[in-house]
């Protein structure tokens, strides 16, 4: 039954992504052309509130509902990894107009071509796993 919560949170997220139009290829184009505030407003307001939330979690040492520590997973220090990996993702983000969450939302919306985008993304992750030891990190 506890697992149901993740499906419900996913449904909520899918509705928010749809109603905010963040799943739209057109909105992502608008963002990368700096021609509208919409996407910056979404990410910016999520971020400002997120900073407040995470600082509050740290300051008050808040725990999860099960009493465990909140998982904040500090990122390992590196430049190459984040810059090269991030640039690869950015190239794909602007081509498809979707980041990993919206790929699923778009399939649910009936844009079945995004099943192909999803399979390619799985293949991309698999390729990363094969090449990981040879890539600069």
């Amino acid at each position: 039954m506890r697992k149901l919560i993740y499906i419900l949170l996913g449904i909520f997220f899918g509705i928010v992504m749809s109603k905010s139009e963040a799943i739209s290829w057109y909105r992502i184009q608008e963002m990368f052309r700096f021609q509208s505030f919409h996407m910056y407003g979404i990410i910016g307001s999520a971020l400002v509130l997120g900073i407040v939330l995470i600082q509050a979690i740290k300051y008050f040492n808040l725990k999860s509902f099960q009493g465990s520590d909140i998982q904040l997973n500090p990122k390992s220090p590196s430049i190459a990894r984040y810059l090269i990996g991030g640039t690869c993702f950015g190239l794909g983000w602007a081509l498809t107009g979707a980041c990993p969450g919206p790929i699923f939302v778009l399939i649910g919306q009936g844009y079945l071509a995004f099943i192909v985008v999803l399979l390619s993304a799985v293949l991309g992750t698999f390729t990363y796993g094969l090449l990981r030891d040879k890539l600069p990190h």
Binding site: S20, G50, L95
Partner: protein, 185 residues
């Protein structure tokens, strides 16, 4: 209740994304959607080819449930919560896209490019297959996507996430201003 059928403004949507992150954090998980791609590889048996996929995926199965939910959420929004899926983007973007031969009145996504038939055209193949590949490769290389770095990582004031987000924009600007005109022009 009429507002629910209209597109939601950024100042409603952004805080609701933070709410999603908060719920996942207090459930003992983290808000990072791209990890599910690694989980899928593990389930499909990729551990035979790389140790990177040797993980107890049952611990990570929650992120698959989350994206199954996201898919259902998209379906619910499309069926019950949307009057029109025409996205009213700015006039400048509309005219920029028109120069690339893209009509901005096709719904959330230009179906003239993103359709199964277009897989066999050069531009369709590049945008769906290469685009998807770069998403999967890049997010795992960078250790996160928009949710993991731009929202969660930056909220936690992680310097690596700032570098990743700068990378997202370098890539996005190159695709938008150089690759798209090249493939579609």
């Amino acid at each position: 209740m009429e507002w629910i059928y209209q597109p939601w403004p950024w100042y409603v949507s952004g805080p609701l994304i933070t709410l999603t992150m908060a719920a996942l954090l207090f459930a003992g998980k983290t808000f990072g959607v791209s990890s599910n791609l690694r989980t899928m590889c593990s389930i499909a048996g990729a551990g035979k080819y790389s140790d990177f996929f040797k993980l107890d995926w049952k611990n990570d199965s929650w992120n698959l449930l989350f994206v199954i939910g996201a898919l259902l959420g998209g379906f619910i929004a499309q069926q019950y919560l949307t009057e029109s899926n025409i996205v009213l983007i700015s006039a400048t973007t509309q005219s920029d896209l028109q120069h690339l031969g893209i009509d901005s009145k096709e719904g959330y996504v230009p179906t003239s490019i993103f359709s199964i038939e277009q897989l066999f055209s050069f531009s369709g193949f590049v945008m769906m297959v290469l685009g998807g590949f770069l998403i999967g490769f890049g997010t795992r290389y960078a250790g996160g996507c928009t949710s993991g770095h731009a929202i969660t990582g930056l909220s936690n004031l992680q310097f690596p996430s700032l570098i990743a987000v700068i990378g997202f924009f370098i890539g996005g600007l190159v695709s938008t201003h150089f690759l798209l005109p090249l493939f579609l022009g």
